[in-house]
Symmetry: C2
Subunit: 153 residues, 2 copies
């Protein structure tokens, strides 16, 4: 149900969280996350506009998180690029109804549950859990994994 | 986050649940739900294929639910036309990973929560709740509401 853009944004920030303190080039992020390079540029731009990610040019530069990974949640990232909607008005456009009907109330409740689930998980938790495994299902030898992914395209 | 198809399917079955026992023509469903007529045909076809809706031709015919509204949940309807995914394999396609990384585990947990929320609500609950208000935010005078909706197209 998450959009492709939200999925990619989460991969990108997870990659940055795993290397917190070390700026990464877009090429390196693309390699580790298997995000198409052009698409990654757009995603990083959106994350920059929402002040989740910053970039520095020059030697030693690259992209990095602007906040410590423990202060950013999955919800923050999703809301920056493809917000989970709330249903606040009747989608059928009937003006006389100021409160939601039971169907759209039920859908809105479900959306709120997914928002809550995403708000509970920080990027630090993604990086630090499961016995040290990185957040992106990556191989122990990322170069090999990257090569394998590229071959499939 | 729900697809347009899922939203329309829910409107259609809610409309049928509100009139359980009385087959409705596609034109009548379209009028009450504000679903474009061609789109509605495709949605009803999918609901028929999943044995949620049946149809009878001839006088007094039309579309109707095949089960009592208390036996069908929002999840049943959504899964029939645009299933909420489970993430069972690494989306990055890395073959060596048989368990999910923390990021995709967290996304899958959220998907499971939305599935649970939808599984808790039956069509009967949509029809019967909130002081008798119908499931589709409809006016007390549906003919007027329908005319108003048509004007907007």
């Amino acid at each position: 149900m998450l959009s492709q853009t939200a999925e990619y944004a989460l991969r990108a920030v997870s990659c940055l969280a795993a290397e917190a303190g070390t700026p990464l080039s877009a090429d390196r992020i693309a390699e580790r996350t298997a995000i198409p390079r052009r698409y990654l540029t757009r995603v990083l731009q959106a994350l920059r506009e929402h002040r989740l990610v910053g970039s520095r040019s020059g030697p030693g530069g690259g992209y990095e998180l602007l906040e410590p990974p423990g202060l950013t949640t999955i919800l923050d990232v999703v809301d920056a690029v493809a917000p989970i909607p709330r249903i606040e008005r009747c989608p059928l456009g009937i003006e006389s109804h100021r409160s939601l009907c039971p169907l759209h109330s039920a859908i809105d409740v479900a959306y709120e549950k997914i928002r809550s689930a995403f708000a509970e998980v920080t990027l630090a938790q993604l990086v630090g859990s499961k016995g040290g495994r990185g957040p992106l299902c990556e191989e122990r030898t990322p170069r090999t994994a990257g090569a394998r992914l590229r071959k499939r395209k």
